[in-house]
Amino acid sequence: MSMFDKRKDNEPASEPSSFGAPAESKNQWMPENTARGTAMIGKTITIKGDISGEENLVIEGTVNGTVSLKGNDLTVGQSGRVTANLAANVVRIDGEVKGDIVGVEKVVVTKTGKVQGNIVGPRVTLEDGAKFKGSIDMDPSSAERSAATQAPKSVPSAAGGKPMSVDSKAGEAAGKA
């Protein structure tokens, strides 16, 4: 039996989503859990260190470190420049990211997005024009395990140009051996 005879699950192939909207319509995007608000790191802000929280976050500035938003959504805006491992419920990349990305629900790299790193998530969308180098792990179990265990640590060797490693559990899921 071929893998291409069966679907991963019974969900529609690609449901319409506000995260699939083009970058220009970003302002129309409203996170599902707006009750908790959305924080923003502005264009002129530079942060070196680890960011965690329980609200949505939009990064338009520069972040070097890690970002972990349990159960919340993360957007790296068009002006965002992030060198960090990212973990959130839904991750949308309009800007530049060097590091690994875990999206429990979904990861979207839009047409203006540029990612050098590894992506783990059950749903990953690269829009036409997005720039990506690295690996994409779309095994749902990998995403769940990554999110459960990920306290993003050091930023991988994204700048080095080599394909980068994902966390060990994701690697186990994807490995053939």
């Binding site: 039996m1 071929s2 893998m3 291409f4 005879d5 069966k6 679907r7 991963k8 192939a13 690609s14 790299v109 749903r123 990953v124 969308t125 690269l126 829009e127 036409d128 024009g129 997005a130 720039k131 990506f132 180098k133 690295g134 690996s135 994409i136 792990d137 779309m138 095994d139 749902p140 990998s142 140009g161 080599k162 394909p163 980068m164 490693s165 994902v166 994701a170 690697g171 899921a173 994807a174 490995g175 053939k176 051996a177």
Partner: protein, 218 residues
């Protein structure tokens, strides 16, 4: 086996075709038929991440590796001395994957046509640790090296095309943006000898002397 999306999906394909050209592939479906779907599938794409390829695989448990080797600096050079060491270093820098990675599918597109023979051998050495006995590959080569002309539609290296999977039987081919790399189309016999981590198990002659290749790890 049912196609996920029919090749006759002209209405859906039309907007895509404006940004590239849809072309039928004869051997890519065979790649997928050889894969056991009981485990997550590890896929190597030597190109950069293509939206259509990601979308195609998004319905399956899989891990995609986009190596973007077309953009790797130094591949178009052919040093006069120590070519093996030189290309080993190039591929070591751009073709090393997490320990334990074993690819089930290698999508090589027309990358092999860009590599001089020493680079082909180095690529083979670099790739071999990541293959297992059931690894299958797909790519494009030349029936005869001299037959591959700039006008060749499938495998002409100097056209600088990028490839994406539109559906199992159709590829989306676009002009490549960015720097050009060298052109080294190889006859099948040369390719089989130099790129010996794979065996060419089937080749289909295309127009202009290009060949679509189905590969099996050895």
């Amino acid at each position: 086996m049912k196609a996920r999306r029919g090749s006759g999906d002209a209405v859906a394909a039309a907007p895509v075709a404006r940004r590239g050209e849809l072309r039928q592939t004869l051997l890519l479906p065979l790649v997928f038929e050889r894969i056991d779907g009981s485990q997550p599938v590890n896929v190597l794409d030597v190109g950069s991440g293509a939206a259509e390829t990601v979308s195609f695989f998004s319905e399956y448990r899989c891990r995609l590796h986009f190596a973007d080797l077309f953009e790797a600096p130094g591949l178009s050079l052919l040093p006069e001395e120590d070519a093996d060491d030189y290309f080993d270093a190039v591929f070591d820098a751009h073709c090393s994957f997490p320990e334990g990675t074993l690819f089930d599918i290698c999508l090589l597109w027309d990358f092999l046509n860009y590599l001089p023979v020493p680079a082909l051998r180095a690529f083979s050495r670099a790739l071999r640790p990541y293959l297992h006995r059931d690894t299958v590959g797909h790519g494009f080569g030349a029936f005869k090296a001299k037959a591959t002309s700039p006008a060749a539609s499938w495998a002409a290296p100097n056209l600088g095309m990028t490839y994406a999977i539109h559906d199992r039987e159709t590829l989306l081919v676009r002009p490549r943006l960015g720097g050009a790399v060298g052109e080294h189309p190889h006859a099948r016999t040369v390719l089989a000898d130099a790129f010996d981590c794979f065996e060419i198990v089937r080749g289909t002659l295309l127009k202009e002397g290009a060949m679509e290749l189905l590969l099996q790890a050895r």
